[in-house]
Symmetry: C2
Subunit: 221 residues, 2 copies
């Protein structure tokens, strides 16, 4: 009796996802944990990266940063370099998100084998970055208190794909109308049990818990 | 002697721009002033529209609002309706900007002939909305103080195409690091002489000058 075979045509990955998988392989080979950091403009992505770098200096954690911007400015990269870590600037040429091709090129310019962590600072945008897999291990979003408590309801797609949520600028809570329960309710609906850290990069409040989580993800050297 | 003729092939407008011109014709025929209101997520677009509606109630100015969102939520439209003005909700279906087709459809649902002003609240995004002409008379951007003073340097395209800039949430100036001179310098470089109003929708501070400008643009009835 001959075995019958059914040919299954699997979903063919598009060019971006193929290259993203290749990026992931590079991270894994170098034993580097990698983060895709997303947020609206001005939510505090660069401040959060700098706070993380500074808090981990004593632990000798080596962090490479890929900075995405829509314009050829190096404001953010300059800050990372000044903090003593390698940074690569990507100019998206007006594009509203980073993609796997850009990360592939940026990785060529980072000393991956000497790093423990790579943080990709995506373009400031709550919509398009959610649709492009970069190959990183973890999707992290920074929501900022002064943006308002209705953002999960209005930009649901980006919340659905998150591994970690940072609520930043908690120092401004006394001065703005932000209902934390309403905000968290919206998040819970889209992404039940999402790991969430409420922090203020300005005062340092709340960063400790984030750092404990992050250290648990870093390779043991 | 025969006249020589040279055939000049003019730039053929793309589909979006053709329809945008048609939208403009509809605004002009109805003698309605129209605004494309852009901003990052949470900069205060809806609050600004509500403050404008409320301030013009006594003057009997009729304002229609087209609300763009990436998700099927009516949070913002509900607020406009509660303020007594007609609103149309556009769900962009995950798209990161509004286009002329969406405005064309929305205009079918507004009582244009009874209105003085139409405000289009674009999707919260500093990148893609700048690339799509909707047919409105005026491009207005709301920059928000807690977003930081470096935004003109990082998102130059949207600033280049503006007719009016609103700096919102000035009530938060004492609590954040925002260098107004540095911000204005960046704007001036991209869009010299740009008409700018610094306001707080929360306290009402600075709105009077914006209203004077706006009234000067409305049709005399």
């Amino acid at each position: 009796m001959t075995e019958k075979r059914i040919t299954i045509v699997e979903k063919i990955l598009d060019a971006n996802d193929r290259l993203a998988n290749e990026n992931r392989r590079r991270f894994d080979l170098a034993e580097v944990f990698s983060i895709n950091l997303m947020a609206s403009p001005g939510a505090g992505k660069t401040s959060f990266i700098l706070a993380t770098i500074n808090a981990l200096l004593d632990a000798n954690v080596q962090i490479g940063v890929i900075e995405g911007d829509t314009a050829p400015v190096t404001l953010d990269s300059d800050k990372i370099l000044a903090a003593g870590m390698p940074a690569v600037q990507i100019n998206s040429g007006g594009n509203c998100h980073l993609d796997a091709v850009m990360i592939d090129s940026a990785l060529d310019q980072l000393p991956l084998e000497t790093l423990d962590l790579v943080i990709v600072e995506n373009i400031g945008n709550l919509i398009c970055p959610a649709a492009f897999y970069l190959g990183t291990h973890s999707n992290v979003l920074i929501a900022s208190v002064p943006e308002g408590d209705d953002k999960p309801y209005k930009y649901p797609n980006i919340y659905r794909g998150l591994d970690v949520l940072i609520i930043n600028k908690t120092d401004l809570l006394p001065y703005v109308d932000f209902d934390m329960d309403y905000f968290r309710q919206g998040v819970e609906m889209l992404n039940p049990g999402l790991k969430t850290f409420a922090v203020s990069c300005k005062t340092g409040e709340g960063l400790e818990d984030w750092l404990v989580w992050l250290k648990s993800k870093l390779p043991a050297r």
